[in-house]
């Protein structure tokens, strides 16, 4: 099982710069994080957009439901900043948009349905869901 979050920029309707990747994971039996660490990390990440820690487990539930029951599990998280006028720290010129793709791939079939989502506590969030693709169970 491998996974990453790919980041790509757009400027003037064209891809800008090279895509780059964060949270890269190459998870195999024997390469894992402890479940309590994963639970705490998921809760902590979601807590940043909530007023308190109490609601974090519920927000993390969609992800936990997917990975729950695995023999081995790995968690990665990161934080990035983009300027509201197109500033991206690793780009020399402003960009119009940034795409983020959660990807996972495995030589084995999927157990359950992979998933990804964006959450925020903003009253009027505005982002585009570019859709998802995943392989059918063989």
């Amino acid at each position: 099982m491998r996974s990453h979050i790919g980041i790509g920029y757009w400027a003037a309707g064209q891809p800008a710069g090279d895509p780059w990747f964060i949270n890269e994971v190459d998870a195999h039996p024997g390469v894992e994080d402890a479940w309590d660490k994963i639970t705490a990390a998921l809760a902590a990440v979601y807590a940043v957009i909530q007023t308190g820690f109490a609601g974090a487990p519920a927000l993390a539930k969609p992800l936990m439901d997917i990975i729950n029951g695995a023999d081995y599990a790995v968690e990665r998280h990161a934080e990035h900043f983009w300027g509201d006028d197109g500033w991206a720290g690793n780009m020399s010129d402003p960009v119009d948009a940034v795409d983020l793709w959660f990807r996972a791939w495995s030589e084995d079939d999927w157990n359950g349905r992979p998933g990804a989502n964006v959450q925020t506590d903003l009253a009027n969030p505005n982002f585009q869901d570019l859709g998802e693709r995943f392989s059918a169970r063989r």
Partner: protein
């Protein structure tokens, strides 16, 4: 949703776009993108959870330019009496050749001209308002 296989691997991908300029711009704030997947191995099931906190913030380059403008405005020499009247005493750590201008001072300088202008040190300390007593503010570091 469509079948998505590359070689012998099963794939999953889900994307989101945040517009930083133009129509449909994403409001300032925090977003969290999270994804998870679990496979069905012959002996073991392996899972991954991945999250990234996305912060859409006021453009920090403008902050840098604003700092440059402010320093340039002060270096250009606003009336000393006016500067003395509107400026509180500077902390010890800021008592250098250049100080930050107020926002009102910064607004008096054309943006493009200021950005192209080199920073110039302020006149000698003799022309500055009297500093506060030593050790009264800041730690001097």
């Amino acid at each position: 949703m469509s079948a998505f296989q590359r070689g012998d691997d099963n794939w999953y991908e889900h994307g989101f776009r945040f517009v930083l300029r133009g129509p449909g711009v994403a409001p300032l704030g925090k977003y969290v993108l999270g994804g998870a997947a679990k496979d069905d191995g012959w002996f073991f099931d392996v899972a991954v959870a991945s999250e990234v906190i996305i912060n859409i913030v006021p453009d920090p380059r403008h902050m840098a330019e604003a700092q440059a403008i402010m320093a340039t405005v002060v270096a250009a020499g606003p009336p000393a009496a006016k500067a003395r009247a509107v400026q509180p005493p500077l902390p010890a750590r800021q008592r250098t050749g250049v100080r930050l201008a107020t926002l009102a001072e910064a607004r008096t300088v054309p943006f493009a001209n200021a950005a192209a202008r080199p920073l110039v040190a302020q006149p000698p300390p003799a022309a500055q308002p009297a500093p506060p007593p030593s050790g009264s503010q800041g730690n001097g570091s």
